[in-house]
Symmetry: C2
Subunit: 339 residues, 2 copies
DNA sequence: TTGAAAGCGCTAACAC
DNA sequence: GTGTTAGCGCTTTCAA
């Protein structure tokens, strides 16, 4: 099959060692030999066997990413953009990216992490969608395994992370709605246990309180982060009397589901009910009406997380082990005019 | 760091070979020895070094997937769902999935394929979004490297693929619109060069012709597969006089962009202009109005492609080396009522 | 300037 | 039953 150092050595008539050194560009190889070796190497279409290199170097130059995915028909734009960011950054440092998927909190998920830690198939891991009491992170910390998280946790473990300031993001959005005159604002929250959901929830409560707007418990409903979940969650919210004048989706997907259901009920989004989202997925600009939302630079976050991980792996202390990005408010039509 | 066979061997007082065999479950190891070895192994938290195993076995148990992605802010639901399908199938066969991303037709892309072929870091590759005159496939065929494509090509190379029957899919959609009374139907086509775009285009032309409906050249405009592309492409289409009564997006993303732009022009989708898409991404059911489209089971396609690749790698001839899936028409509101 | 030898961790053919 | 030996392809001392 593929040519090896041995093949080249035989053909040129030198030792494997010399070939290795010639190709590695050491300058203790005679010019002539080097030339011949290089010629034969390219003639044979040689490239080093990466597995052998890795065994010898005792590192894999591979990063792992275990996607926490619900069900099969899963299609969260977050992941494709995040992977693109991580992947491109990894590639630019000559790292590969190993991807797998497991349902969050499942036995399979934790096993995948354990295997990653023990079997030395990746040099480090990227963890996303952190959870309160996150067993993945506890495991990684306990084993002192290199990783960087996108998101924080509630316990007091010390680890490097990148996160967006969801709380501030949500404050921007809620305040925007309040400034438009809304007082009864509902929220479709992320499933409890997810850290970012918690921050978003906090931002919602705090902003309402700061504006002296009491929140009724039934104004907050949990959704499963999908359009369908958003649509289903909005039904009870619309049944509330007096009617809510605004509804926030804990992410854009749920906001889009909510818009759909609101319209099905014969109400007009942006006039009868204002809607806001969170994430600013590419589609958000193209819904009808276009979605007011909070923008997070997912692609850049992916890059940054990846760069940080590579630093960690190479024993370089990241310049900023905890980086918190401030999201921005994108006002479109779904939040409507002042009332 | 991680425990090795040698560590266990030393501690138990046997040879590395015996340990290897005991752990592999061979029955030519004395019960007592086996017991002790297993005990020490688990005590030490041993798991085999995967890189060493791979070097020795001369296979990586890893599949490669190089995503053809345009620009950074890229977020095609197709990919996340496809990866999930491939990844889960791979995992169930104990294969890993290595993912990277390159712009289609870029130099970097082809290099990535060359490296994959030469460096033995993956046992096989998955190729998607096949193109006419596809250099990736030519390369893979020339090197006899195991791969399976999602999509066909225009040349007569023989290779295993899974594909959806885009032509039939498009026929279903166009006929549906014609049955509703439409005669002037525009199309936002996929970029030329993409095989699936070609089939879809063909399905469009054929169905129009079969219904004796002449097509004006300006009815067909190319878009770049994104919402933005769809929105931009729709502008010239709307300028046509007499106005088109229906517009088809070459994929759902473009259809969604088209809907957006049509509405911005003050026209009502499903009444003034019917719109159809292609793919049935999860969001399609939640646009306003919900999108009439052609459903393809991306997740299953991913699984199937992956399963086929694993067969190929293991020298099993796939039962069906060319599998063509028939898509189905999903009628929602964007195509409107009969006119 | 070059080569022999060892070793990364594992498996397997072949003795004992 | 168990150990010895060799080898996967590569890098890296250390001697020549």
């Amino acid at each position: 099959m593929a040519a090896t150092l041995k093949d080249i050595a035989r053909q040129v008539g030198v030792s494997v060692t010399t070939v290795s050194r010639a190709l590695a560009g050491y300058d203790d190889v005679a010019e002539g030999t080097k030339e011949r070796i290089k010629a034969v190497a390219s003639e044979l279409g040689y490239s080093p066997n990466i597995v052998a290199q890795r065994l010898q170097k005792q590192r894999t130059d591979t990063l792992g990413f275990i996607m926490p995915t619900f069900g099969p028909r899963f299609s969260d734009p977050f992941f494709s953009e995040f992977i693109a960011g991580v992947g491109n950054e990894a590639a630019s440092h000559e790292y590969d990216l190993l991807v797998s998927a497991h349902a969050p909190n499942s036995a399979g998920e934790l096993k995948a992490y354990e295997r990653a830690v023990r079997r030395g198939w990746v040099d480090g891991l990227i963890v996303v969608r952190t959870r309160e009491d996150d067993t993945r992170i506890q495991l990684l910390c306990a084993h002192n395994f290199p990783f960087v998280a996108f998101g924080r946790t509630s316990d007091d473990l010390e680890f490097p992370y990148v996160d967006e300031d969801s709380e501030t993001g949500m404050r921007l959005l809620v305040q925007h709605l309040i400034d438009l005159g809304h007082k009864r604002i509902g929220l479709i929250a992320a499933p409890s246990g997810l850290m970012f959901g918690r921050y978003r929830l906090q931002g919602y409560y705090d902003t309402m309180r700061d504006n002296n707007l009491p929140v009724q418990p039934e104004w907050v409903v949990e959704g499963d982060m999908t359009q369908r979940g958003g649509a289903e969650a909005v039904t009870p919210l619309l049944g509330i009397n007096p009617r809510l004048t605004a509804i926030i989706g804990g992410n854009d997907l749920m906001a889009i589901g909510a818009i759909n259901r609101i319209q099905q009920q014969g109400l007009q989004v942006g006039r009868d009910v204002a809607v806001g989202g969170f994430d600013d997925i590419p589609l958000a600009a193209y819904t009808s009406p276009p979605l007011t939302t909070i923008h997070q630079p997912i692609y850049e976050i992916g890059q940054r997380t990846c760069a940080m991980l590579i630093d960690v792996i190479n024993g370089r202390a990241p310049t900023t082990p905890h980086s918190l990005l401030t999201p921005t408010l994108i006002i479109r039509e779904s939040s409507g005019n002042p009332i």
